[in-house]
């Protein structure tokens, strides 16, 4: 396993499989009477959130606490950051407090990368979403959910629909799914596909109906309301009509196909309420799996020293 988790693209197939296999064991902890393991006792995990994200923060918090780590939540709003403190000084402060891992959510693409490579901090850096760049643990929990329902992802057809241009979830998913052998199709209006998408390991499609019939899984992306007025598409209603998932479109999916959404949902916009609440929707499972996957990531990054060479397994 690597020292940090900055990009889904950094994970080799073996790394990704190790995280998913570990998460499978972590998932069973949730059904125990005592949902806690002593594994990371005495370790400190800082949730450093420069952007609001209650869902991701509490998911990481639950994961760290289930492994008995101490959790410090650092929200930039109302903190020294709003008084003008730089990322470097914030990092040095966390280092001085003895952070073993820093989970970073930042509005600037590349901020976690900067933290990991600037030698301000010794701890492991976990990217919890940076700008429009990446969100690797979301991609891991999506892959975990797909694997649960579809089996091994080699050859699986996954369709990702919506605002790909601004979506770190789409980018991380495209990279990880390619590593795991799945075929990814991005469906979006031309205005919401990134310029360099031709170099991504994906197919692109402007017509959602054409991309449904062979999909094993459909991932709907949130339409960010702040984009509504930015002329990416004529109106919310038109977007919903062309790129929203409703019951009629869901009926075109294969029998076994699943519907995913990273949350939070705009019901009635990119996904209708009846689809979100249907049997095919695994959106609530994604949240449960998110905690297990983040437990696995924290365990693999934080337990143990990284030895110079493989050590022998001790005996009982």
């Amino acid at each position: 396993m690597m020292r940090h988790l900055l990009s889904a693209g950094d994970l080799s197939r073996d790394d990704a499989t190790a995280v998913l296999d570990t998460a499978q064991e972590m998932l069973s902890i949730a059904s125990r009477p005592i949902k806690k393991l002593p594994t990371l006792r005495g370790r400190t995990v800082v949730n450093l959130f420069f952007e609001d994200s209650t869902r991701t923060r509490i998911s990481f918090e639950a994961a760290a606490k289930r492994l008995s780590a101490d959790v410090i939540n650092f929200s930039a709003k109302g903190s020294s950051v709003s008084k003008g403190e730089s990322l470097k000084d914030t990092a040095l402060t966390l280092q001085a407090m003895g952070a073993d891992a820093v989970v970073v959510r930042h509005h600037g693409s590349g901020a976690p990368h900067r933290l990991a490579n600037a030698a301000w901090i010794d701890g492991a850096i976990v990217n919890a979403g940076d700008g429009t760049h990446e969100h690797p643990t979301q991609a891991l929990l999506d892959a975990f959910t797909m694997r649960q329902h579809l089996g091994p992802l080699d050859g699986a057809n996954i369709t990702i629909v919506g605002d790909v241009l601004h979506s770190r979830v789409a980018r991380s998913n495209a990279l990880l799914l390619e590593t795991l052998g799945a075929n990814v199709t991005l469906v979006a209006p031309p205005t919401l596909l990134p310029v360099g998408v031709a170099s991504w390991p994906v197919d692109t499609e402007y017509d959602l109906d054409a991309a449904l019939e062979k999909a094993d899984g459909v991932m709907m992306l949130r339409v960010q309301r702040e984009r509504m007025n930015a002329a990416f598409f004529p109106s919310a209603r038109e977007y919903s009509r062309r790129y929203g998932l409703d019951a009629r479109r869901m009926a075109r999916l294969p029998e076994h196909a699943i519907v995913m959404h990273p949350g939070p949902m705009n019901r009635g916009m990119e996904i209708t309420a009846d689809v979100a609440d249907s049997d095919r929707s695994v959106i609530v499972e994604q949240v449960t799996n998110g905690v297990a996957v983040r437990m696995a990531v924290l365990y693999l990054l934080l337990s143990g020293e990284r030895p110079a060479e493989p050590t022998e397994e001790p005996q009982a």
């Binding site: 396993m1 190790a18 296999d21 570990t22 064991e25 972590m26 069973s28 125990r32 009477p33 005592i34 806690k36 393991l37 002593p38 594994t39 492994l67 365990y299 693999l300 990054l301 934080l302 337990s303 143990g304 020293e305 990284r306 030895p307 493989p310 050590t311 022998e312 397994e313 001790p314 005996q315 009982a316």
Partner: protein, 196 residues
């Protein structure tokens, strides 16, 4: 857990101390001792400690089924997350924990492992059990006790007491994972430490 040295480590002497028939006899004896100690099998749950404790637990459970004519619940208990050396070694892959449907509350849990050495694995297993429920009693069955305990822990049922030096490696091979049943003592030639 038994150690697995790299194949490249030159071994001056590797002698087989138990062969498949010895292991079979030892497990049969352990099975009868477990049944004698616990009178009947009604409250028993057999839990193997991965990796090699799990097939041993399955074999003991199968023998109890034969002798008592009952369906003996058995499972596996991964202790990786409870180890006391997690900070000193690279992150390990987790093994599977599989607790029988009846749970362990009020049960007599018999932990099964291949080699009893420092006792640290068993301490971890006791902690793990503690988080899973409250057994009436916990007993320990091991195929080999090689001594060198570092904690006040002992086995209730021992296949073979094997006095060893710290420089030696004890390796357990089982048909399920290694294609053969054998317990082998190997001495390193290059002066390296044995099992830690």
């Amino acid at each position: 857990m038994s150690s697995r040295t790299p194949e490249s480590a030159a071994l001056a002497t590797a002698r087989t101390v138990l062969d498949d028939r010895d292991i079979s006899r030892a497990l049969t004896r352990i099975t009868h001792e477990i049944l004698e100690r616990n009178r009947d099998a009604s409250d028993l749950v057999i839990l193997g400690i991965p990796r090699r404790g799990v097939p041993l637990a399955a074999r003991v459970a199968a023998r109890i089924n034969e002798v008592e004519g009952v369906e003996m619940p058995y499972g596996s208990l991964d202790i990786t997350m409870y180890r006391d050396d997690l900070r000193m070694r690279p992150a390990r892959a987790l093994e599977h924990t599989d607790i029988p449907a009846r749970g362990i509350d009020g049960a007599v849990v018999v932990l099964v492992d291949d080699v009893l050495f420092s006792g640290r694995t068993i301490r971890s297993a006791l902690d793990a059990l503690n988080d899973l429920g409250r057994p009436k009693a916990v007993q320990l069955a091991v195929l080999v006790d090689r001594g060198h305990r570092e904690l006040p822990i002992r086995a209730d049922f021992v296949g073979k007491n094997l006095p060893t030096s710290l420089a030696e490696n004890v390796r357990v091979h089982l048909a399920e994972s290694d294609g053969e049943d054998a317990v082998i003592i190997a001495s390193p030639t290059d002066g390296t430490e044995g099992d830690a």
